[in-house]
Amino acid sequence: MTTWQPVLLANVNRPNSEKITTYLAHGGYEALRKTLKMSPDQVIAEVKASGLRGRGGAGFPTGAKWGFIPKDAPVKYLAVNTDEGEPGTFKDRLIVERDPHAILEGVIIASYAVGAHRAFVYIRGEFFLGVKRWIKAIADAYQYGFLGKNILESGFDLDVSLHRGAGAYICGEETAMIESLEGKRGEPRLKPPYPAQAGIWGQPTVVQNCETLVNIPHIIGRGAAWFASIGTEQSRGPKIFCVSGHVNRPGNYELPLGTPLREIIYEHAGGVRMGRSVKAVIPGGASTPFLTADKLDVPMAFETLAAAGSALGTGAVVVMDETTDMVEVARRVMSFYVHESCGRCVPCRLGGHNMLHELDIIASGQGKRANLARLEALTRGIPGITFCPLGTGMCEPVASGLKLFRSEFEERVS
């Protein structure tokens, strides 16, 4: 079993962990002091060298993203993605509630690196406690001189403001988040231009997931080499795995990338409930395809999961035991996506509806083979033609359910 001393979650179980004093007592904001003595380019170089990839689902190299921000643009923004809507994912919530300064320090360092003087925190509306904690953390950071004008006498200014979402999964998608931040209907934007070229109010914007930002102070504090020494070839550093479903100890587990799935389930999360066997695992949140029990030895890293026919996504591991009804799983996941489709593009808005319609019929036992055939055609027809990844992602669970557990679907129809 991998022994790993948590870094990202080091503070979360301390008493009063959310307080700035607690954070400071454990070395908080030291990395910021160090950063402010470096040049922004040095900070970007360090993050590039670390090999850090985004933890919000897409796994884009963070240093490279910062490098895209035009140096000469007069106004730049940072946006912190705390919308955390991917089913099965609950890591960002833990950090905002328990250790908001860990994110905030990353926010300040990232803003310094890209030259942003304004950062927007976009937080999921249902995170009531998280909102409170963020507000308090921001206020305290101003008090302590970590925010505002001339931070720690460095001459660097940064203001941070908070924006609550109104309950839309799509607003976690970076361009929809930007639309929502601007007060508009939450729908993704046409890309290009990418946020790094034209984001909030048309200005270059870096959008970063919470967990990604929590890594930053550690990369600066301990050095890129330390970070790069953890994990696999293409997946460096520690990662928080959100384990849920039919395990004995569901929860957030911080482990190096590359830790085998089997170890996460059986050693860390206490194994499957009632000693049952695993039937299927969603390894990275609802938009990633299922893995079957024979794939449990896969290392949890970007490249290895891709090779296994799935994806790391957000690192949300949903374990399903042998009693699970896979048709029902597909139906429930589908109904989530249909509910969350923004309605902009035809295949997702209407195609998704049709898929759910077929699934409802099949799950009710009234289905015919034709329903199954139509469902299958839809899972082939929709991916790749939607405006944004949501519509494509919604087909994954059904498509992989049909592929891996076909007999369960066939048994339901006549």
Partner: protein
């Protein structure tokens, strides 16, 4: 010249400007990519996914939307692979499953992109057995438009149009995912002045036209390309006729004029053409006090020439005059002035805002120049009310091209909200401010040119004006003007009438000249063919081709064409004629009796002929009424505000026995000539001898008029080409369907000189009274409005006077009350309104409301009028 990019679409190589969207590049290659949400005049959206095509790259091919991807060098696109076909089928399937398919009762059926694409790209079989989802069906989103949410495919075209062009985002998306619908916002119906365009661009029948709903099936219509004659923009449109009724008007693309937009007046105000109250036969009044009775054309025309001839014989030619409207075609305007100049022998011809207004002869250099201007100066001109499609272009320039607007107007018109400056003026006070600005700019320029040498100190009046110019209130305007690199100056009749108007125009022209842009100064008239009417010489002091009647060479040239020369003496103006300067008046399309005072003046005439569509107040007083056709029922050309001469061909059979204006004039002239005993050597066409011709007039010896021989409107246009030099090449065929701008090279003398202006500031109305401000309203009670469809008529407000809210409070008056408004010229009873766009101390009464209140109060006299407002 933009960079060019070459790409391959389905093995066809095509070269297009960089930045072109793939969907347009494919079109250039002759390949149609199906679209729903994409529209050439709207920003890309990428919502419907219908246009997905394969892009072949080094790492295999990938699908992307042709409506959002821009071309790049060497790009390879495949538009009809199996994959692409499957995608189209799937997308259509998704849409159709959720579409009501009520095509048999849908107005769009037959011209519906969804139908067409289903036939072209659909699966061909229906897979759907379940019940359709239900949404709100056909409910009004405005007086003019119905929405059917079930039919809507959420392409956002309507949303984007209202946002991107109108800057009135009045339709939005509600709910989410499959529940998403479009709708208006609570309590705010769509009221954009060009809202009807969303009906044209809706790719399904979700938005329908309340005026023409259920009155046509597209395939039954006879479609005639024509132009709108309701304002000087001259938008291109199509007349859709069925069984001799004008069922519908839709926009027609002309990228130089209206893109593919129309304003709501142009689109929805057409039922007057088929209105039961149209005049269908000539009417004559046998004796004063008797009623008008139907007559034959022969009798009516005979009556006209007999009476006109008698009055001319006894009182001289100067006792005859003609007032026309500038709505009529070039052909009608030309023959009208020719009738008076060549046959009657008087220059007594004019139209409202004709000789009373000092107009730049050349109009706008081009509508396209609006988008290229960095400053648009609007003096006494409110495009939002007077020319809504021009308003679209100006808003677009302000929002997309960063143009600034300098609005000089007694009222804070809608366009004043855009970046730039608003300069409030009192009516008639424009000259003072413009002169101040011009003087200050000239001084600054002189100082610049003098280089290090100190500029000559302004003396006397100039000194005063320089001081005025830098006064705080002129400063923002001055700064805008001084910084402008490509300004455009547009003024309208409201700033240009009368003596004060002449000063204002001179000052404005000085201003343009001082900046070095004398050629970027344009006058835009109120009526649709104002430009054409001026080109045709429908003016008491100006001959065809913008030459003064005093110009002997031009008179001689016209004399050769007409057989007789026009008189050298300038004729009487509209105001002079309407106030009793003539004994016999011929009114074509105008309505001077709309005011009580105007009607009283007409009572004194010996003889009144009115040629019109309806029995107007003026026609009711006439001795002979001649029924004329509307623009839709006769061929004719019209010249828009950028000098574009456009064809308006006949699209529908004339009502009753009505005849084209030009044809009536031609017939009248034939009779006139036939009744004269002059040996012309030539013979007029209609020389058979009915009874009435037995009575012949002797006329003075001298050169005889040439016969009038116009079998068609085109023949009249041919002669116009000889009379008006810039029209020389503009034959009917040469005009084509997009029209041609006449060249200014033959004529123009853009002002180059600064002319001194002697002007004094206008005094505000005395305490307790207000300065009357008037101007156009889109939905007024203009000549055709009362005969529009009910939905259209509803848009005209009950006659009102609006005051600034502060004035209302101060005078302890309440909105909604009835008030009497009194001026030196008359009094009217109006409903009181509060309106923050009305400046303090002024009272706003729009032109052409029912009962002509503004006109009654003296608003169009070109001089400041003060009014008192009292509770009834």
């Amino acid at each position: 010249m933009p960079d060019l990019v070459t790409l391959t679409v389905d093995d066809v190589k095509v070269t297009v400007p960089a930045g072109t969207l793939v969907v347009d590049a494919a079109k250039a290659a002759g390949i149609e990519i199906p679209i729903f949400c994409s529209h050439p005049k709207l920003d890309p959206l990428g919502a419907c996914r219908m246009c997905l095509v394969e892009f072949v790259g080094p790492r295999g091919s990938k699908l992307d939307t042709a409506c959002t991807v821009r071309v790049s060098e060497g790009m390879t696109v495949r538009t009809s692979t199996e994959q692409v076909k499957a995608v189209r089928e799937a997308n259509l399937g998704f849409i159709l499953i959720n579409h009501p398919l009520d095509c048999p009762i849908c107005d769009k059926g037959g011209e519906c992109p969804l139908q067409d694409q289903t036939m072209a790209y659909g699966a061909g079989v229906s897979q759907f057995v379940e019940a359709k989802r239900q949404k709100q069906k056909h409910y009004p989103i405005s007086d003019l438009i119905l929405l059917d949410q079930e039919r809507c495919i959420l392409c956002w075209r309507c949303i984007r149009y209202l946002d991107e062009w109108e800057d009135k985002p009045q339709i939005g998306l509600f709910e989410r995912g499959g529940e998403t619908v479009i709708d208006t916002f609570p309590g705010q119906p769509v009221d954009a002045a060009t809202s009807g365009n969303i009906i044209d661009i809706c790719p399904v029948g979700a938005l329908t036209n309340r005026v023409s709903r259920f009155r046509f099936r597209p395939w039954e219509l006879k479609k005639t390309p024509s132009v709108c004659t309701l304002c000087p923009v001259g938008c291109n449109l199509r007349l859709d006729e069925r069984v001799h009724e004008l069922r519908r008007i839709v926009a027609r693309e002309n990228l130089a004029v209206n893109d593919e937009w129309l304003c709501d007046k142009g689109r929805f105000l057409h039922q007057y053409v088929d209105h039961p109250e149209r005049l269908r036969t000539p009417l004559v009044r046998d004796a004063a006090g008797e009623a008008l009775r139907p007559a034959t054309w022969d009798e009516a025309l005979h009556r006209v020439i007999e009476k006109l001839g008698d009055i001319a014989d006894t009182n001289g030619a100067n006792a005859l005059g003609g007032i026309a409207s500038a709505r009529v075609s070039n052909e009608a305007a030309y023959l009208f002035q020719k009738f008076f100049r060549a046959l009657v022998g008087a220059n007594n011809i004019d139209f409202a805002d004709g000789s009373a207004v000092k107009a730049q002869p050349t109009g706008l250099s081009a509508i396209a120049d609006i988008a290229k201007s960095d400053l648009i100066v609007l003096v006494g001109f409110d495009p939002s009310e007077a020319a809504p499609v021009l308003d679209l272009h100006i808003k677009r320039a302000a929002r997309r091209a960063g143009a600034k607007l300098l609005v000089i107007n007694p009222r804070r018109i809608a366009l004043a909200k855009y970046p730039g400056a608003y300069l409030p003026v009192l009516p008639g006070g424009e000259a003072w401010d413009l002169n101040g600005l011009a003087t200050a700019l000239q001084a600054a320029r002189a100082a610049n040119q003098a280089g290090s040498k100190p500029a000559p100190a302004p003396t006397g009046k100039a000194k005063l004006e320089t001081k005025v110019a830098v006064m705080a209130e002129l400063r923002p305007a001055y700064d805008l003007l001084a910084a402008a690199k490509a300004p455009l100056f547009i003024y309208g009749p409201d700033a240009a009438r009368g003596q004060l108007g002449k000063l204002a125009v001179t000052a404005l022209s000085n201003l343009a000249v001082a900046l070095g842009f004398g050629d970027r100064l344009a006058y835009v008239g109120a009526e649709a063919n104002s430009q054409g009417a001026r080109d045709m010489g429908l003016l008491s002091d100006t001959l065809p081709g913008h030459q003064p009647v005093t110009d002997a060479a031009v008179r001689e040239r016209l004399g050769k064409l007409w057989g007789v020369q026009p008189p050298a003496e300038p004729g009487q103006s509209y105001a002079a004629m309407a106030a009793g300067g003539v004994k016999a008046l011929y009114v074509m399309g105008a309505n001077p009796a709309a005011t009580v005072a105007g009607a009283e003046a007409l009572h004194k005439l010996d003889f009144l002929v009115v040629q019109d569509l309806f029995l107007t107040e003026t026609a009711q007083l006439a001795d002979v009424v001649l029924p004329a056709t509307s623009f839709a029922e006769a061929d004719g050309t019209y010249t828009n505000l950028e000098r574009r001469v456009q064809r308006g061909p006949q699209g529908i059979k004339p009502a009753g026995e009505s005849q084209a204006d030009w044809a009536i004039l031609a017939a009248l002239a034939e009779k006139w000539l036939a009744s004269q005993t002059v040996d012309t050597g030539e013979v007029s066409k209609a020389i058979e001898q009915p009874d009435w011709k037995k009575k012949r007039r002797k006329i003075k010896a001298g050169p005889a008029p040439k016969p009038w021989n116009y079998p068609t409107a085109q023949a009249v246009l041919d002669e116009i080409g000889k009379a008006v030099p810039p029209y020389a090449s503009l034959r009917w065929d040469a005009l084509g369907e997009a029209g041609v701008q006449w060249s200014t090279s033959a004529l123009v003398r853009a002002p180059r000189r600064v002319e001194p202006v002697d002007v004094a500031p206008i005094a505000a109305a005395p305490a307790g009274s207000f300065t009357l401000v008037s101007g156009p309203l889109l939905w007024d009670n203009g000549p055709l409005m009362p005969y529009g469809a009910e939905q259209v008529r509803k848009l005209t407000p009950t006659p009102f006077v609006a005051l600034n809210p502060a004035d209302l409070t101060m005078a302890a008056l309440a909105e909604g009350r009835q008030v009497t408004v009194t001026s030196a010229y008359g009094n009217v009873t109006l409903t009181l309104k509060a309106d923050a766009s009305v400046q303090p101390g002024t009272a706003w009464v729009p032109a052409n409301l029912a009962g002509a209140p503004a006109e009654t109060l003296g608003a169009v006299r070109g001089e400041p009028v003060s009014v008192a407002v009292k509770l009834v």
